[in-house]
């Protein structure tokens, strides 16, 4: 597949996106620790390069289907951090009027057709988005994010096969962060790489270093070009890692500190930052950019905090169109 190296502007904006995701999730983590969040949440800290590299290769009018670990996808697709934070805190001003929360944030007008509380639940839906693009002939593309654990759901199999036989413009992006909750990927399937499953559907499959945002971007760029040109779906596996527990109740008995440390040494943000510093593209070590993203998240939180709660009288709003 042909690949186009990203421009310097793109590299800078990708660093910015990754910093913004990290700032958002560190704040979310902090709010949770303070007991200010109802329910649970799933953080993608450590996986920023996947959401960022993939979405950087998309057009604004392209679609994504996200997962329960979707904050990064949402921000990378261009969502407003304030509306996200408001949803995270269940406010009326949030993307879903506080009805969805962390696990269901959707920015439909921005092309994010929603996080999903159901593992692999977005994959069948992605085939329909692809069908719609194909029938309406709009030249858009749909990216379906899912995890390594999702690759063992029947929905994965049925969806990739359907997209393959109809050559739907869908890119299946597997974020292999090595675990499905406590289940190590090596115990949940007897293959080396999840991308090997592409052969079962007669579509291209490849695995890239999901901590290297450029590798993710270039692989996505090629897969998107193929999909847009009518070449059908690609299964793109991004090898990555989640720094935090699966969710808040996780004692992480299933992995070692050393393993976590080893992956942290390959931090996606540090990698791109180093590269840009080496290339003389950023001078202050992107300190200004990092400060800017943190204050953007502070503003987002302020907006969310000052926003009203939904009116209980509106409980039944939006059940039906």
């Amino acid at each position: 597949m042909k690949t186009v190296p990203p421009t310097t502007e793109r590299l800078i904006s990708m660093l910015h996106t990754m910093l913004l995701i990290r700032a958002f999730e560190e704040k979310a983590d902090e709010l949770f620790a303070l007991g200010r969040v109802h329910g649970t949440m799933h953080l993608s800290l450590g996986q920023e390069a996947v959401a960022t590299g993939v979405c950087a290769a998309l057009r604004p009018d392209d679609y994504i289907l996200s997962t329960h670990r979707g904050h990064g996808h949402c921000l990378a697709k261009g969502a407003d951090a304030g509306l996200m934070m408001a949803e995270f805190l269940g406010k009326e001003t949030g993307y879903c009027r506080g009805r969805g929360g962390s696990m269901h944030i959707a920015d439909v007008s921005g092309g994010n057709l929603g996080a999903n509380g159901i593992v692999a639940g977005g994959l069948p839906i992605a085939t329909g988005v692809g069908l719609s693009i194909q029938v309406r002939e709009t030249g858009q593309v749909c990216v379906a994010f899912f995890g390594d654990g999702a690759a063992n759901e029947g929905a994965f199999h049925e969806s990739v096969n359907l997209a393959s036989i109809w050559r739907l413009p869908v890119v299946f992006v597997c974020e292999n962060n090595q675990y499905a909750m406590s289940m190590p990927v090596r115990k949940s399937m007897r293959i080396e790489r999840i991308s090997e499953r592409a052969a079962a559907y007669g579509i291209p499959g490849l695995t890239v270093d999901g901590t290297d945002v450029l590798a993710v971007y270039e692989a996505t760029e090629a897969a998107v070009a193929l999909a847009r040109s009518g070449g059908g779906p690609t299964l793109l596996e991004c090898a990555t890692y989640r720094y935090k527990g699966h969710s808040k109740s996780d004692r992480q008995r299933y992995r070692t500190r050393d393993e976590v440390e080893a992956w942290r040494r390959r931090d996606p943000i540090a990698q791109l930052r180093a590269r840009l510093i080496a290339g003389g593209v950023v001078t202050d070590g992107a300190a200004a950019m990092e400060a800017e993203t943190r204050s953007a998240i502070d503003d987002a939180l302020r907006f969310a905090e000052e926003s009203p709660e939904p009116d209980p009288a509106s409980l039944l709003d939006g059940v039906y169109a």
Partner: protein
């Protein structure tokens, strides 16, 4: 003007007219193309609309359902055929956790205009895995609409409304009704969802029946008339939303009610209708207990005589009505 056409033809007409009028309407399903559908409902639609809009799918019910959802939230109006209602058990996650909830979870920022057509019911010797009547499951789910037509005219008119509706609609057809004929208007006529139909007026007892039980209830009402019992037969037609007021008004008038349905009696639609009557002001007008006639508490057996014994028949309706009249 009306003509006599079959229930299957009426559904096909509804599909054809809506597809001609709106190219966002696409069909998805197993063997709906060249084969024309397991019950022949989509026969000829592939020839007229082509394989871009009439899609034969692999045997992947969950993906087909999700495919309709994804199409619906991005500009299509998909109509899915699930070959037998039993197989909808493979679509529950996509239908109930996704289609039914997306609009609400997303704060009203998306709509899911899709229809799932599927044939339910027993009577064809298809046995336990091809004879389910699961409509009550869907009527329990906010976000879904549930339609159960009993005549060709209702089938066409309600299908047209279902396709034009901006919400996910489960449209439940009946295998034994496909060949039954009835008058259907020439001109396209949409029948609104959520409105019950009084199929026969009466004064002494209200018989609420759905699907294939409607013709059985009407036949029984005819016999009862000969015995001087005036039975009012009402078909809710839509189970969610359920037109409670029409049902309750009839019970207020008659003071007696028998609810007839094919699904397993326990927690079938009759349970909800009984409960709504019992919590309504019609309660004080009741002169007899509320009687439900539902399917037996067992899977549908293969043997013809057992299969017949497993669901209400005309004679069961007659016996039940005579019982409430005696109470």
């Amino acid at each position: 003007m009306t003509r006599q056409i079959s229930y299957a033809e009426a559904i096909r007409e509804g599909l054809r007219e809506e597809m001609r009028a709106d190219d966002r309407v696409v069909l998805l399903g197993e063997d709906i193309g060249v084969y024309g559908g397991a019950f022949g409902v989509t026969d000829g639609l592939l020839d007229e609309f082509g394989d871009r809009r009439v899609r034969d799918t692999p045997i992947s019910e969950a993906a087909i359902t999700g495919c309709a959802i994804g199409g619906a939230i991005t500009g299509l109006r998909p109509v899915v055929e699930i070959q037998f209602m039993d197989f909808i058990t493979l679509c529950m996650e996509q239908l109930v956790l996704q289609a039914a909830k997306i609009r609400y979870m997303f704060g009203g920022t998306a709509a899911v205009p899709m229809v799932v057509r599927t044939p339910g019911g027993s009577g064809t010797g298809a046995a336990a895995q091809h004879s389910e009547s699961l409509e009550a499951w869907f009527a329990h789910v906010p976000g879904l609409k549930v339609v159960v037509p009993s005549t060709p005219a209702d089938a066409k008119g309600l299908l047209v409304s279902a396709i034009r509706d901006d919400n996910p609609v489960i449209f439940i057809e009946h295998k034994l009704l496909y060949r039954t004929k009835g008058p259907v208007p020439d001109a396209p006529t949409a029948i609104p969802l959520g409105v019950a139909d009084v199929k026969r007026e009466g004064a002494d007892v209200t018989v609420v029946a759905t699907g294939v039980m409607v013709p059985r209830a009407l036949a029984a009402a005819g016999t009862l008339a000969g015995e001087g019992i005036s039975a009012e037969v009402i078909d809710p037609r839509t189970l969610r939303p359920l037109d409670t007021e029409t049902l309750v008004a009839s019970v207020r008038k008659t003071g007696r009610v028998v609810i007839v349905y094919e699904a397993v009696k326990t927690l079938g639609i009759g349970a909800e209708i009984s409960a709504r009557v019992a919590e309504s002001d019609a309660f004080s007008h009741l002169t007899a207990p509320i009687i439900r006639l539902g399917g037996a508490e067992c899977p549908i057996p293969y043997n013809r005589a057992l299969e017949r014994a497993a669901v209400p028949q005309e004679e069961d309706i007659l016996a039940a009505v005579r019982r409430v009249m005696a109470a």
